[in-house]
């Protein structure tokens, strides 16, 4: 066997091992979700009988459907606002020549470096003063602007060739027209990536919503799942039901992955790998 073949062999072996490690918890989750309650601690991986009705029970016995609706609808609203605000901020930061604008950008980036927990208390107090605790509006307000989105879009707006912008200015385009007919179409791939990243982030967001949202009808999937675990802790937890709920909570992400896996991989790679 040649050295090159050996090398690819090792690469594949490592990838397979890592994939198994990553997939195993999900597989386990799925297997528990179709077990009878009595077999959870039985030690065997496979159930003796299959209980797919656990999935139906998730919808009849818990408020999972409501949580899903809350999560998805609020995430979509958050995306709209974050992209909208990011586009305008990114335009200013990508094009303004003035030195103080650049200082502002650095300052804003610096706040991004802060641990997000630092802002929880002030945000909480502000929202409570506005009487918006435990509301979707309160959550949406606190997520109107994403510094990450501003930074991400600024970087791609900066890629638009200067002379193309100059040509558009000579053709008579003002700021708004420049944004909507030059910058956005030119960066449509980056914006699509940003939409996906923002959605994934918002859907998975746990810590801040868990502080903010208390009442059941406002809960998101992430907090709802925790509630499912907690509420049953007293009288022996219904693990198959909880695991079925977890599996269902993955569904939107899996659908997203099915539709746009290429784009997601691409944008994640762009995000974390230095080109």
């Amino acid at each position: 066997m040649s050295l090159a073949k050996l090398k690819t062999g090792i690469h594949y072996a490592m990838l397979i091992l890592l994939s198994v490690l990553m997939v195993f918890p999900f597989l386990w989750m799925f297997l528990i979700s179709i077990k009878p309650k009595s077999e959870v601690y039985s030690g065997s991986l496979l159930p003796s009988t299959f209980h797919f009705e656990n999935y139906i029970r998730v919808f009849t016995e818990t408020k999972m459907l409501l949580y899903l609706w809350n999560s998805i609808s609020v995430s979509l609203i958050v995306i709209v606002f974050q992209i909208f605000t990011a586009i305008f901020a990114a335009y200013v930061f990508a094009t303004a020549q003035k030195r103080w604008v650049r200082y502002c950008f650095v300052l804003i980036l610096a706040t991004y470096m802060l641990p997000s927990a630092v802002t929880y208390i002030p945000s909480f107090i502000l929202l409570s003063k506005a009487n918006l605790l435990d509301t979707h509006i309160g959550y949406i307000l606190s997520e109107l602007i994403s510094i990450f989105a501003v930074f991400f879009l600024r970087q791609s707006f900066a890629q638009v060739p200067k002379d193309v912008v100059h040509a558009a200015k000579l053709d008579g385009a003002g700021h708004l027209r420049l944004i909507f007919t030059v910058y956005i179409p030119y960066c449509k791939n980056a914006i699509a990536s940003l939409v996906l990243i923002t959605f994934i982030y918002s859907y998975n967001n746990y810590m801040w919503p868990s502080l903010l949202i208390k009442s059941e009808e406002n809960m998101f999937v992430t907090i709802g799942l925790r509630r499912l675990f907690m509420s049953q802790a007293g009288y022996g937890m219904d693990f198959p039901l909880a695991m079925a709920a977890c599996a269902i909570s993955l569904a939107p992400m899996l659908i997203l992955l099915a539709i746009a896996s290429k784009r997601i991989i691409h944008s994640m790679a762009n995000l974390y790998v230095n080109k």
Binding site: P161, D163, V164, H166, A167, A168, K169, L170, D171, G172, A173, R177, T181, V182, P185, Y186, K188
Partner: protein, 362 residues
């Protein structure tokens, strides 16, 4: 009125160097001005400052009677063909040309008429539905010209608009641009590296070097009397021959003497008073090859270069090279000994120290 006036215009990109250094120029309404100069001398910078997309460090730009320093690019009534085309990559060729017209709220029928007409002139009709990434360099360049001409502006700024076309297309487009200028009543500022383009298109030519104008004049003036050795070299293609020479006075006539060969000049007698050291500049087309060794310089053939129906004979004279341009009638072998003669009254005389033309500077 779309005359253009530059008043003491300067541009500094970095603190240590002036890219444009205090230049002034008046371009008349409907004039066709060609900017000619070596790479990096600031031609594009100048165009961009007139268009308003490059900040002015010092000085004023007037279009018509208005100082436009503070006027937005879109309100200056200029259209520009960018050196790197700058097409909108996400729009088709048609949309690229329609973009500016839509903003100006020009009716759809009129838009289509103008784009169709421009596409016909520029031979890009079959490309209208394509995106810029699907075009060759020369095609992009023609689209860029098209995008400018459909706007029918008061002032055209063209930055080497034909540089990427093949010779045949370039000749055709040159004529189209000439026609366009006659039809549109606009003022043109046209950057080129090509002397033929400069001479055939320009009402006046401005020759630039290192951020300054060296000479501004009609093609005739510049060819006839280049102010210095730089200009003479730049406007001449193939390059002008320079030879060390001296001035001699005989019978109230000033002659240039090159190694015993006397060449008539029409210099005034006064130049003899300063007794300057000189360099003679002789254009290749003003030389001829002759059997006669009298009044000619003995040279050796290095190689020949055939250009259309003409031939450039590259010669060696002592240690320097010398080019003769003549019509193509016979071949010359390498190493062949020939005699090069020089037509009377066609020699440019430059001061060796200052490099200035003695005829232009009294």
């Amino acid at each position: 009125m779309s005359s253009i006036m530059l008043k003491s215009l300067s541009k500094q990109y970095t603190n240590d160097k002036y890219t444009l250094d205090d230049i002034s120029l008046e371009i008349k309404d409907k004039e066709f001005l060609v900017l000619l100069g070596p790479s990096g001398c600031g031609k594009s910078t100048l165009l961009r400052m007139i268009a308003g997309i490059e900040e002015i460090t010092q000085g004023d730009v007037y279009i018509g009677d208005v100082c436009v320093n503070e006027v937005e690019p879109k309100d200056r009534g200029v259209a520009m063909v960018f050196q790197n085309y700058a097409l909108y990559p996400h729009m088709t060729v048609f949309e690229n040309m329609a973009y500016g017209l839509k903003i100006k709220k020009i009716k759809k029928a009129e838009r289509e008429k103008r784009i169709k007409a421009a596409a016909d002139i520029l031979q890009i009709d079959p490309l209208l539905k394509r995106f810029p990434s699907q075009l060759s360099g020369g095609q992009k360049q023609r689209v860029a010209i098209g995008r400018a001409i459909v706007k029918e502006p008061k002032v055209f700024l063209m930055d080497e608009p034909l540089s990427n076309l093949d010779a045949k297309l370039r000749n055709e487009m040159r004529i189209e641009i000439k026609k366009l200028h006659e039809r549109l009543d606009s003022t043109f500022i046209y950057v080129t590296h090509d002397q033929v383009e400069a001479v055939t298109l320009g009402d006046r030519i401005a020759i630039m070097a290192e951020g300054k104008f060296r000479q501004i004049g009609t093609p005739m003036e510049i060819i006839d009397c280049p102010v210095d050795m730089f200009v003479a070299n730049f406007i001449s293609s193939p390059p002008i021959n320079y030879m060390d020479a001296s001035l001699i006075q005989r019978d109230n006539q000033v002659y240039v003497e090159v190694d015993g060969v006397l060449l008539e000049t029409n210099l005034p007698l006064e130049v003899m008073e300063q007794a300057p050291e000189i360099v003679a500049g002789i254009r290749p087309e003003h030389c001829f090859l002759t059997e006669d060794s009298e009044d000619a310089l003995a040279m050796e053939v290095l190689f020949t270069e055939i250009i259309g129906t003409d031939v450039l004979v590259h010669l060696k004279y002592k240690t320097s090279s010398f080019i003769v341009k003549k019509s193509f009638t016979q071949t010359y072998a390498k190493g062949q000994k020939v005699n090069a003669g020089i037509s009377a009254n066609h020699v440019h005389v430059f001061d060796r120290q200052t490099q200035k033309n003695l005829r232009c500077r009294p």
